[in-house]
Symmetry: C2
Subunit: 281 residues, 2 copies
């Protein structure tokens, strides 16, 4: 077998649960090898020897076809199942095999080898996340002002600057109840935030965006409109930024940041604020 | 220092990016140690020696206070930054340190040590995900039938069985355009799916739920209503399941599965269907 025939190589994401985490980690590690393009195969819910044997057959056939070893990224708790995958001769990134025994020594306790697939559904944390999603959907785009008090975060910004996907990500990933509130031309004319927001400055975050990108995004929705015109976008963004700066609102730019990055920055700033408040009280 | 004074121990999730992946992986590994409750601290965006030094000071002070070594879960690309964290003496789960060199040998190419923070924003894959979220929000709860043709997945099920959070997760995580469509009492009376759905059976998935849970969920929304009554929920679920079974729709139970699990199962079934269609054509 050739050792670096990478253009033909396949990466398998193997998990006894959803495989979402190990796929994210694998993509993250592999993204540091420039120009590398591997075929990718998800193998979730491999939670029995029988399913593992079927998966191993596919991997062996793939390695035969590719003429090169596969990369196997694995989060599998059961050591017997893991052993089957190691026998394929693929290059294994084995999360449990690598980290669980050392952790077990460090903690001075044995690891439980059963799979807790539905444990997360039963807990309060899961219900909290689902409630946060429902709250957030009910408070999108300034639909109602009644929930501002109960929101953990309020996002403001001009129309189409990325508030909705960010709100939903904050709810889904971090269980935050998010309300978002558009800054509309009337607010810009008045040069003030809507009065209802004034009491909640501590949890307000502003999103901003490059006017060129904004014009493109708006143009997809309403082609050839004043709404999407570059000059109009430039003016709205400039005035919205001035307004947010004057009101002392933390501002984040969605042009070059993903919703994951913006959400993490918001979580980070919230914990700084919480730590600061603790010190002041 | 005591070695297994676990009740006082802290785990740090350290990343040069959002830290979302390494936190998920750390939680997954640690969940296999029963009864273990560690204090958790997120340290995202540690992308310079200066930020690393500040973080290291916090970790050292925490270890001093806890009287026990911290657990450090890390995805940090820069080896100099990683080295600083190893010097704290904490128990390191070092993703890059552990896996990147072996991967580099296997692939026969060097790893790029710069951080590609905003690489994901620029790509078509990211725009696709954001478009999928917008599509999915626009096709929630049978709002419109116009998008059924363009949807990648159509979710059906009785009101409040989990369609909305699942739709959004499928869009956010997998870039799927999802329409969801409630099965309402009128459909159950007629004992048939809405006619508009008939053409799309290949991409329809049904969600079902334990009537007791459904009654509780509905009760939170409309207490003491006929809608939330246990007998009514039992009857709706039973008839909806019969209807879906007869129409040959794949059914998934949201009672004991998280949105992540249901979404992964749907993705898995879609890839099986795609593979089958390829064989048939």
């Amino acid at each position: 077998m050739s050792l670096n025939n990478n253009s033909k190589r396949t990466v398998f994401y193997i998990s006894d649960s959803t495989g979402i985490t190990v796929e994210a980690l694998g993509l993250c590690l592999l993204s540091h090898f420039e120009g590398l393009k591997l075929k990718q195969v998800r193998m979730p819910f491999i939670d029995s020897m029988e399913k593992a044997r079927e998966a191993v057959e596919i991997i062996n056939a793939t390695q035969e076809r590719d003429g090169v070893r596969a990369i196997l990224c694995m989060t599998v708790v059961n050591p017997n199942i893991r052993a089957l995958f190691h026998l394929t001769g693929g290059h294994c990134l084995d999360m449990f095999g690598t980290f669980v025994n050392p952790l077990s020594c460090e903690l001075g306790m044995p690891a439980n080898e059963t799979i807790g697939m539905s444990r997360r559904v039963a807990g309060a944390e899961y219900r909290n996340r689902i409630n946060a999603i429902n709250f957030t959907l009910g408070h999108d785009d300034g639909i109602t002002e009644s929930g501002l008090k109960d929101a953990d975060v309020i996002l403001v910004g001009v129309s189409r600057c990325g508030k909705t996907p960010t709100s939903i990500y904050l709810a889904m990933q971090f269980g935050m109840r998010v309300a978002n509130y558009p800054i509309i031309p009337e607010d810009l004319e008045r040069n003030a935030l809507p009065g209802t927001l004034i009491d909640y400055k501590d949890k307000i975050f502003g999103l901003t965006i490059d006017p060129l990108r904004l014009s493109k995004v708006r143009g997809e929705r309403r082609p050839n409109s004043r709404y999407a015109e570059l000059e109009n976008c430039k003016s709205e963004v400039k005035r919205a930024e001035e307004l947010m700066r004057r009101e002392g609102i933390s501002m984040l730019d969605s042009t070059s940041r993903s919703v994951e990055e913006i959400s993490s920055l918001i979580m980070q700033q919230l914990s700084f604020k919480a730590a600061k408040n603790m010190l002041l009280n």
